[in-house]
Symmetry: C2
Subunit: 360 residues, 2 copies
């Protein structure tokens, strides 16, 4: 079936777990490297997971890309964010101009950045956009509805968002991308993500809701109460990923879930960034638990609920640098470590090659 016509059920049916035989072969290779047993810790584990994903002892991660998914959120009307809603569209312009945090970090790690309008409010005038950037338009709507008053979107829109993310990532993989990072932009999206996180992990809102871009204590309290009301009104079924997405939003979170499905479908590694990307991973995991086999957690965010989401997914973060920006920044920076892990596995000599005596 062409991926153009595939539906979510078709994607899920086609997904296979990572191959434990290749992971084990990689562990055997690690044991031969001229160093004390597993002396490079997480680097070995990361490389071995890659071998299991790619069914290869020399998985390539040279071609890297970050998909920055942007969407607006009706819940901003409840006063849950430190920034005005028009910042979403303005930041999309900044991404395209190459001037945001993700642009600097993606250049540093050698990843291309693609920006996707999953559903921001403005209709960006392509003619006026900076020449350097690339904008993909997959608008599912002009911002979600305010989920404090009803569903953020319809179930059909939720499916459309996930499939758009799947196709966008799929087209990058078809084009040769070997390591994909997910990123987000959307004023209000820590509110949607905290709601998704609380419903899926079962953690309390007090533990899951944080300051996002920087609201004060009173603001966090208001955000918490807004989400409590929203969950009471929407009553999402915590076992149904598309329903959770439809009721709580947002379009970019659906797109990110689709990217993660694509990683598993194409058997290529995906690195999630922080709180919003991991909310997307929670949705993808509900849709198909095996997707997690193809996923790395780039870092642990300062947003307090993030570590609870990662614990739920049993994904240990690679970096812990107090980041809380989003955009894909933490995932992109972690690509460097992932890249390095492969070089350790493939470039370091064995004890035999080096002629060095093995230990006790």
């Amino acid at each position: 079936m062409s991926i153009k016509n595939i539906d979510i059920e078709g994607v899920i049916r086609a997904i296979q777990p990572a191959d434990a035989v290749w992971t084990e072969k990689a562990r055997q290779r690690t044991a031969q490297l001229v160093m004390p047993p597993r002396a490079l810790g997480r680097l070995h584990e990361i490389a071995e997971r890659l071998c299991g994903m790619r069914r290869s002892l020399s998985p390539r991660v040279d071609r890297k890309a970050v998909l920055v998914m942007a969407g607006d959120h009706g819940v901003v009307a409840e006063g849950v964010s430190a920034f005005p809603q028009e910042v979403t569209g303005a930041m999309v312009g900044t991404f395209l101009a190459g001037g945001a945090g993700i642009n600097a970090i993606a250049r540093h790690v050698g990843a291309e950045v693609q920006v996707v309008d999953m559903g921001i409010i403005p209709e960006l005038d392509r003619a006026s956009l900076p020449a350097g950037g690339r904008l993909q338009v997959c608008k599912v709507g002009r911002g979600t509805a305010n989920f404090a008053q009803g569903p953020a979107m319809s179930r059909e829109q939720a499916e459309q968002a996930v499939l758009a993310g799947f196709r966008m990532a799929g087209s990058l993989f078809d084009d040769g991308v070997e390591l994909l990072g997910t990123g987000d932009m959307g004023i209000g999206n820590t509110t949607a993500s905290a709601a998704i996180g609380a419903v899926i992990t079962g953690c309390t809102l007090e533990d899951m809701v944080g300051p996002g871009t920087g609201i004060d204590r009173e603001g966090v309290h208001r955000k918490c109460e807004t989400i409590r009301r929203a969950i009471a009104i929407n009553k999402p079924d915590a076992r149904d990923g598309l329903e959770v997405l439809a009721r709580l939003g947002g379009f970019e979170i659906g797109g990110i879930a689709g990217c993660i499905l694509a990683g598993a479908y194409y058997q290529r590694p995906v690195v999630v960034d922080g709180f919003i990307s991991t909310a997307g991973a929670l949705i993808a995991h509900l849709l198909c638990p095996a997707t997690i086999d193809y996923l790395f957690a780039g870092h642990c965010s300062e947003e307090p609920g993030h570590r609870l989401m990662l614990r739920h997914l049993e994904l240990p973060p690679i970096l812990n640098l107090g980041l809380r920006l989003g955009e894909g920044t933490g995932g992109a920076l972690a690509m460097n470590v992932i890249d390095c892990s492969v070089k350790v596995l493939t470039e370091v000599m064995t004890f035999a090659e080096a002629g060095v005596a093995q230990g006790q």
Copy 2:
């Protein structure tokens, strides 16, 4: 004074702390970047420290090098290591052949590797060495004496080791290196480092002594008792860095302390690796506390005493990946994050440049 004739006192007198005015200027720049306040956490802090070291808002860290200091340890006679002593020399050969962990990681981050014989037992035959590698010979002795029975070296040898490291690093800085990593190789050197760590930090041996390259519980106990005996015999004055180094060793640890003095003298950043490099930092810090202004801790090692050393120096580690190899590997990998931090400071647009509204 030419650095060829300088003595340790002269180096220490010339060292100035980092410049807080430049650190503050960098903080002001960070506050303008088009993102929520300090949303890239440690990356901002790292970049601002670099600005304070280099007295510049665009500190360059493109030219990178790792000095891998090798030395042998007489204390190996006490059965404290999982590997035989000849592995030190064999690994020096592996570094020169480009086949060790540090070679793969240094290539990954774009750092050149220089290997220094600070005092290994074998006299390596240059003619038989691999053509690719570069070996610097600064042999202070053919291995230290067994410090369980008396001083590891004389005070003159300790000075000689520190000055050799200072000159080696200084010559790299003169040559244009902008970011230096320290590395080590020496069977038995976690024993010397744990002894140095316990004496300088005041922590107990039970907390400071770990498995090193991989001895079992009984081995750790024997290592602990060996160090206890050694400290009782040597009675080092914990306020005198050269005395601690002379009594407990080793030559490569003295060389690393010299590299750290050179960073502060040249006002260039140095990244320490794990347990052994940080033992060198403890010595350098005793000799001149301001050296720490120019130092980054690349990572926190699995060797349990490492975090205690870092806490003593008030240096938060950049990475936490369960590494315990040494060779400079964790410091080299962290260079990538340091590099990225500068790009965030210098390449990301300001709110004004991007035309984006600032938050509350």
